[in-house]
Symmetry: none
Subunit: 198 residues, 4 copies
DNA sequence: CATGAATGAGGATTCATTCAT
DNA sequence: TATGAATGAATCCTCATTCAT
């Protein structure tokens, strides 16, 4: 089934180009014509691969989220120690944000839409829930083994970690100052290490 | 003589209504007609008080930021102890976010615009810089007095705190789950207390 | 009846200011607010003196046309010789255009409107007819007395003179080059003198 | 492959229709919707061919002016005698005005705009300068050869001719009386012949 | 009389999407 | 499959005019 491969490949290519356009112009201001030009195809052709403008955004960020989830599983791997596992996850998360920088920038627009439109919301909700339960179980694990401080509510700490991550991404998107990401990451890792362990 | 109107009061009233409309529909989707209807005035009247749609957003969030900055100064007051000062600031910040819930929701859209348009960016940049330097000096103070751990880069920790705050706001906007804010806040305060102190 | 004098005086004052505004911005682009500011009165006050925007234009150019007609009669005075009479009229016409320079500039806009709207058209038509019959009778007089060349159709020559005058005004409005008016006037007078006399 | 369209042809078609609409309603009052309906196309389609409303006007009158300039050169052709050359030019000019009657009617609006907006002004200025220098050199030629009266300032006479022409066009637009154009033309030709020759 | 706050009809323009080729 | 010409719904904003004070 070579055709299908081609089709999927072109979908990805168009989505990648779109992300750049979205990043530069903003999702709302970006015109389909801009994408077509950037992708070197006709305007109509986009609609052979995507239902509409929102569909491109959705698809592109699907990839971003899937890569995160897959990468997160890989990052934790067979690590037994909960602290090590958590730190490996955090390390991966920051590397992921750096690698998918453009997607992160567009994520803000996606977020705004997602907060309002039901379908998007449900979808993003599920992702966040996944991330949080993943984190919460690590926290619980650490607390059970006596390595993490008992005072923390696992769900609350998980939500805190997600918040921190989202905030760091957004802030970096806005700032774009070189070295800022690393500064924040180092502070975060140290703080978590010192503050979470029993 | 014509009707006498408190221009500034009416500006504020329109902006307040607008924020609600922006929150519900999103800034981009919200139509000037929606605002006019919600405010119980004619479409044209809006333009007597604001140059354009963006001007309303800007004005509304100006108030939000100014209230934050003023409140932050008040929250720190005469507190000498750096930890107490920091915690008071954090406590205020979360209360501020709760009080200005609608503005927070719209803040995402503002952020997206600000990241792209020069004027907005400069303005928001200044606010962030203010917040960070405020925080960094508290950290330094704590480190000098030996109360805070020496390992932290003050600027990095300040950026982390801002990130965390922004992330918590955004996450809450998205979630909107009752009790979530408090869960995150408590975890944050405990983490900072435990992790930052020497 | 002092009130009426005041009212009429203020009408004139507003109309004069309006002509300047119309000249600078063009009739269509000029806003009632501009006129109010320029006149140092409130927007609503204009409507105490004029029915609407078009009414101001109409009134202002009424004055212009009336002054022309009155001045023309005066310029011809008791002059018996048809050539002298014609030249005196032409001389006056050019001086009138110079004196009412701003009105001339606005006249273009008026003309465009007049060409389209019935009421305006009828009015302007009457003025042109007056001017033409005035001129035609001078030509006929000159031809009867054997001083003007017989070959000219009086109505045709009158229309030519009006055309030339309108054209000179418009061209001058556009050019605005100093000395241009005089150059055209001298050429016109010489041409008419040489070409019209038998 | 999509429909193949001769862009330039369609541009011309839309512009032609627009001129009719402008003539009937006036440029300012004419709505884009009117043009679309008259052209049998969608409103949006106009913008595929023209940047905006002003662009249509500009394009249409570009054609008008270009046709004039080209026709003028043709009309003068290889004619040696300056009087003959001038009369041929005048004859052409009047025929041109008759042929482009609708454009002439719209020309008034263009003129009003051109007198105010810098870009338009520069453009129209250049055209007038061309016409005048063309005419002035004919006058000079005639004077050198002793055929034209020496008393005329060539530039002044050229400006007079242009004024007369513009005035005749405008006056005709306004009058629209049948036979008027010919009456004016005949008077003009006779006057120039008699008055200009030595 | 004078005012300017309020209004909403009106119009230019944009752009996602469709569809004939 | 690819295209881009065509479309019109959608929306911001302007400004002449009204009218309560």
């Amino acid at each position: 089934m070579p055709k299908i491969v081609d089709k999927e490949e072109k979908r990805k290519a168009i989505a990648d180009v779109s992300i750049t356009v979205f990043k530069n112009n903003g999702y709302h201001s970006a015109r389909m014509a801009d994408i077509a030009v950037a992708a070197g195809i006709g305007k109509g052709t986009i609609y052979e691969y995507f239902k509409n403008k929102a569909d491109i955004l959705r698809y592109a960020l699907d990839n971003y989220f899937n890569a995160f989830l897959n990468g997160a599983v890989l990052a934790m791997g067979e690590i037994k120690d909960p602290l090590e596992k958590l730190l490996s996850l955090i390390d991966f998360a920051f590397r992921h944000a750096a690698k998918w920088e453009d997607h992160c920038a567009v994520y803000v627009d996606y977020f705004g839409t997602a907060a309002r439109e039901k379908d998007y919301r449900i979808y993003l909700d599920a992702i966040y829930r996944d991330m949080e339960s993943m984190l919460a179980s690590i926290i619980e694990e650490g607390q059970r083994s006596g390595k993490f401080h008992e005072g923390y509510n696992p769900a609350g700490f998980a939500a805190l970690l997600v918040s921190l991550y989202e905030g760091a991404i957004l802030y970096d998107v806005f700032k774009g100052a070189p070295g800022n990401r690393e500064l924040v990451r180092d502070a975060a890792i140290r703080l978590i290490e010192k503050g979470l362990t029993a």
